[in-house]
Symmetry: none
Subunit: 403 residues, 2 copies
């Protein structure tokens, strides 16, 4: 991959527009050896037509065999080395429930849990208390602990036993250990600083847990909390800074909005349906020069192992493609962050079909948007982190290197 500083030094500003459509987890597997993948099964005339005017390939999010989470897989697509720019679990969880993070914030994934009279953790998930109970307890904690010393405490409920705590203040390092002992039958740990810079954060967290335990003591089974994945936002240069882009994101799930915000995209409000997302693109097309449009449900149905519904989502996306092509962006990319084969009910390492349509692309023989067809495309198999330089190049936003 090209170094980001070199790439930045080549940037040419122009008015050309790029649309990156990420159909989450679209890549799949056949259910049986002679079968077809989800994408090969779906009737998708518009995507196929797009592929026939495009240069195609398959991307590796990280490297062969490595299954990426959504965080690294998206960062790679946005042009960032996904190993260098790792996003801690606490930050992803906070982004996932829609919290806006500042560079001061230390985020933690938190669980309500149960401890017995000897302070032994007997259930790390507090019997998976209902979300309503979680919400009440988070309100209670937030009301009683809004500040410790000079640090603001922000608490947001998630689902069942899960919530997020943000510690907002000066000088909080994330180089410290979890309080979650990871196993039942043990006491909760104290957060420990892994270097002297993190001592303030460790004291703060241990004091927070102490107070929370007092408040929660009558609320068994949720009579304690466990914190893990303590992390600060990585310092990621924005897409504006790096590439001179005015980028905007259209996504329905908080985590993807959060990831987009992390790299400096403007979040465009959209309703929930795929149709709404494409209408939002249409409405805002004049105002930005880079659009990231994220479709979630292919991944969700893949995770559920629901092959047929994943196929249906692909068909729905296909029906919206004419809205996109009529806008005549200078570069259209349709791809995914990772595969989510219904067969495996989860993310997988299989590479992602990728089509890039632009008047400046050198077309290939691919006439279909599918894993097997893209394999034969002009881009071959390539690291996802190279997608951004390719999009910029096809939009004539990169000067030549050297004379």
């Amino acid at each position: 991959m090209i170094d980001l500083d070199i790439l930045k030094s080549l940037i040419l500003k122009n008015d050309k527009k790029i649309v990156l459509v990420v159909i989450d987890g679209i890549g799949g597997l056949p259910l049986d050896i002679d079968g077809k993948t989800e994408l090969e099964t779906a009737a998708k005339p518009f995507l196929d037509e797009l592929a026939s005017r495009s240069i195609c390939g398959l991307t590796e999010a990280i490297s062969p065999g490595i299954t990426p989470g959504s965080g690294p897989a998206h960062l790679a697509l946005f042009g960032y080395d996904p190993i260098k720019y790792q996003i801690g679990r606490g930050v992803l969880e906070a982004l996932g429930i829609g919290l806006m993070l500042t560079p001061q914030d230390l985020s933690a994934r938190a669980n309500f849990a149960t401890m017995n009279e000897e302070n032994i953790i007997t259930d790390r998930r507090a019997g998976r208390i209902p979300t309503e109970k979680n919400q009440q307890l988070c309100s209670l904690l937030q009301e009683k602990i809004s500040k410790i010393d000079d640090c603001e405490i922000i608490i947001r409920h998630g689902k069942e036993h899960r919530f997020v705590v943000i510690f907002r203040g000066e000088g909080l390092s994330d180089e410290l250990t979890d309080t979650d002992p990871q196993k039942e039958g043990k006491k909760a740990s104290l957060a420990e600083a892994l270097n002297p810079k993190a001592e303030k954060a460790a004291r703060l967290i241990n004091e927070f847990v102490r107070r929370a335990n007092e408040i929660l003591s009558p609320h068994s089974p949720a009579n304690t909390i466990l914190l893990r994945g303590l992390a600060k936002c990585p310092q990621i240069p924005s897409l504006g800074e790096l590439y001179g882009l005015r980028p905007a994101a259209i996504a329905t799930y908080p985590m993807y909005k959060g990831l987009a915000r992390l790299v400096g995209m403007k979040i465009l409000e959209s309703c929930e349906t795929i149709e709404d997302e494409f209408l939002t693109l249409q409405k805002n097309f004049a105002k930005y020069d880079f659009f990231y449009l994220h479709i979630k449900k292919t991944d969700s149905f893949g995770e559920d192992g629901n092959f047929a519904e994943k196929v249906n989502v692909i068909i729905q996306v296909d029906s919206q493609i004419p809205i996109l092509t009529k806008l005549k962006p200078d570069v259209i990319v349709v791809t995914s962050d990772h595969s989510t084969p219904a067969l495996l009910k989860g993310h997988s390492w299989h590479p992602n079909p990728f089509v890039l349509c632009s008047p400046t692309c050198r077309p290939d023989d691919v006439r279909e948007f599918s894993e097997s067809a893209c394999l034969k495309g002009g881009l071959g198999r390539f690291p996802a982190v190279e997608a951004m330089p390719l999009m910029l190049a096809h939009a004539l936003k990169l000067a030549k290197l050297g004379a």
Copy 2:
């Protein structure tokens, strides 16, 4: 390639089984421009059938154009960066004659040689003395020099003029120069420490050579010895440590057993024939979860320039494939460490056909196990060092990276 520490952090233990069959030097070249390679010539219905259920590709052992020795080519297949983990010649020679090495051992390739009365080396190979003579002289040296100071000396004959010396003791560094002047008409060199840590080793080696010269003086033409390739075993984390595997090796030649031992494989005793090797796999299949099965003769006949016999070995291997597939491993890989075209009578840089068969693989259009067919496979051309992450992924032994 993914960093080994990251890979290690993703390991999930399960009972799934991986079999890696290395048909040494299988890749070849046509003897004339319109001809077929050895692999394309051989009738191999079972390998072709396997390929048709697999994802296929071609591996580069190191990088395009680079011809690997067996050491780096195998380390790459086992997942180790072959440039970072280089194995010194002395160590490979020792492994090659079946010596077990400890982390204390400093190994040297040694030659019997001839020097004249002015101590000038007149023949670096002592007229290629017969192996029997070599054996006698090694016994003599071993008997007279079993120890120097606190270091044990282990001497083993090889073929003709070649033998191996192991210096076993505390504090022996391999950062020192050879005693072999590389050219005739010069005196033998003294071993020189390249840094102070190696001074003990240099003294020891020079004393060894001095004593050997005294003992050998009546045995012209083998009246002196030359040492080169002084090396210690690289500290390679084992496959067990890295990937949580219980690995076993089936190989007939000592060097491959040695390489397998170096990465922590259990060596399964097998007789010499290809049939025996597959029977050994069958017998031990329940006991391990990773098998490396090495076939030597494709390489040997390639080195001899014997196209027809190399083809015959491929046919023999093919006939054993049903034994392998009936065991139903979760992942089967059939590939090679490097190519050995009969046309070139030696290792070559041409990439290696690779097939990976697993219920979790995304199949491609390849219907044949050959260089030209694999070129069109779903894995394309890729570095051999990525084979291990791919095997682990398909055996569902890798968690996702990031959330």
